[in-house]
């Protein structure tokens, strides 16, 4: 049985018969929606520290394994005082994105999607707009 996303890619056939599959061009809808939700959640939680949010996103885009949890934790702990912030929610939001990009989020299993969208997700995160205020949020006064 084909999994979601499988049918949308063609491959280049070599003379040896080996097929090199081209990269997927777009995310499946469920994954697209999930990524958008996670990004918005991230933006909302890190709203008061955009500079730091950018640094955390940079770590996430470079994540290659769950070892990245160490860098994520350290970066968040560097900027947030745990007495003032629910630091675990920040870590959770960053983790959700990181595991989505490295492909081991439980989301993939739940939705029967093959995790092969690293580059697309990476590009989305790199280009994510952190600047535009979220509707209903109030900017910090200078």
């Amino acid at each position: 049985m084909k999994r979601k996303g499988e049918e949308e890619h063609s491959g280049m056939k070599l003379r040896s018969g080996k097929i090199i599959r081209s990269s997927p061009r777009e995310l499946p809808k469920e994954l697209n929606d999930e990524l958008e939700t996670e990004l918005q959640n991230f933006k909302k939680l890190f709203f008061n520290n955009k500079k730091h949010a950018k640094e955390v996103l940079k770590i996430i885009t470079k994540a290659s394994s769950i070892n990245s949890r160490v860098d994520i934790r350290e970066k968040i702990e560097e900027a947030y005082n745990e007495d003032e912030s629910d630091i675990s929610s920040l870590q959770g939001a960053a983790g959700d994105l990181a595991w989505l990009i490295i492909g081991n989020s439980s989301f993939y299993k739940e939705h029967n999607i093959i995790p092969k969208y690293h580059d697309l997700i990476q590009a989305r995160i790199q280009n994510f707009d952190l600047e535009t205020p979220i509707l209903g949020e109030v900017e910090d006064l200078p």
Binding site: S65, N67, I72, E77, E82, I87, S88, A94, S106
Partner: protein, 475 residues
Amino acid sequence: MKRKTTKKQRNNTGKIPKTSSVTPLITAVPSVESDYRQFLNKFSNKIINGKKKITSQAIKSWQEPPITSAGQIQNEIVSKFNKNNKLGVSKIGFNPKNSESFYWVNEDGNPILDLVPKVKKQLTKGPDTSIVAHELVHANDHQIDHLNPLVWKNLQALTLATKPSNFKTLNQSISKIQNKIDPTKAFSSNYPIDESYIKPDMKAAKSLVPYKIPLQGKAPDWLKLFNDINQVVTSHAPKASKQYSGIPKTGGVPNHWFYLNRASEFPAFISENLTRRWKTNEGGKAIALSTPEAQFLHSTLGNMSTAYPAADYPTMNRYIMTRRGSIEQAYPGQFQSSVSSVPSKSSSSSSSSSSSSRNKGKGPKAPRMGGSPLSVAIAPSSSFSLLSHQIASRALPSYAVRRSPITDKISSPISSPYNPSTPYFQKPSSLIPFGYDFNLPGQVESQDQHDLFTEFESNPISPEQLKFNKEMGLD
């Protein structure tokens, strides 16, 4: 009973040194020749696995664990390995091409630690010390402590208490605990305990006999399933008396999945996060731990404190005990406190004359052993004793100053994360089934079961204990 190790913490006058808010951050500093570096030196120029060797030169330039409690815990884990290595690691690799560090067992039964540099392709940065410590919890687990078989037993008790109707429900419960331990969710995203993991592994473990998940009506028969798992885990577990070559070569299953994977991750991830804030219960029922889930965690922490006793691993044990204390505080009446100064009330049972707090008036009780006030109620068959928990909470490390777990800066009692008012485990009253009986209706508690959530008798509190409680904000 006196332990040689508790003397370590006494000064020349035989008194336990006073703690001071200005002491001793210095005692938490890893030495120049730290256990971590000693560990690495053992393997320098001896590497077989991978193309790159760990050279003495590289080790010299590697970073020590940070000068924090977290760093000291890492060093203590490595120290345990250095002192006790019998089966833990036979080969170590350092391969910049891998993306992740692994502790694993090859087909010959050799346990291997594959490390990656902290910064990709930069060997001289060394491996991340917290990752090394994480992997060495597995190694320590693998050799003598039998910690993860106990975690399996705790998981069994969890299924008996919560009676999940399927693996999805079980995994939801386990994920909740995993997320509590590691808020980044790296733990839950990688280590689901589900049918797709258990079934093939049981099949492999039982060699050629196909394994079918036993059912009780439509739901899995958790008792039978976990008994089967425990049987596989213990029968394949390496014995401390055997060296590497002694591990049975059973088609690549010297228990390398059940024993090392999943269950062993609980103590490994817990050790990583001991000094960190755990996820609060904000969000209500969805993420708040139920009493049996909290008991799983409490029990696993208890096993860890036995594996890492205070006398030898003071920082780690102190944080374990404090974490246990915070659970007890958040679920009043559900635990017989290991650190609380309030003696708990034992309830009587018609099926047993002994006492245990966990059953609170309904279920059978654990027998009480021994006459010492430090005796604990634990099954005679268990190789573990919770005695060290008691000793741990009395043995006050000389540097037991209050510090923020994140910054390691000395902080006020109010800002301490271990203040009992801190809602790590806000009591979700709707989730706490008072008088909960862990046994199925009509079922008599088995010997195994009563190893699980057995709590110990409360004891008269010593002045040192009271002081410790006060220091940790637990009084």
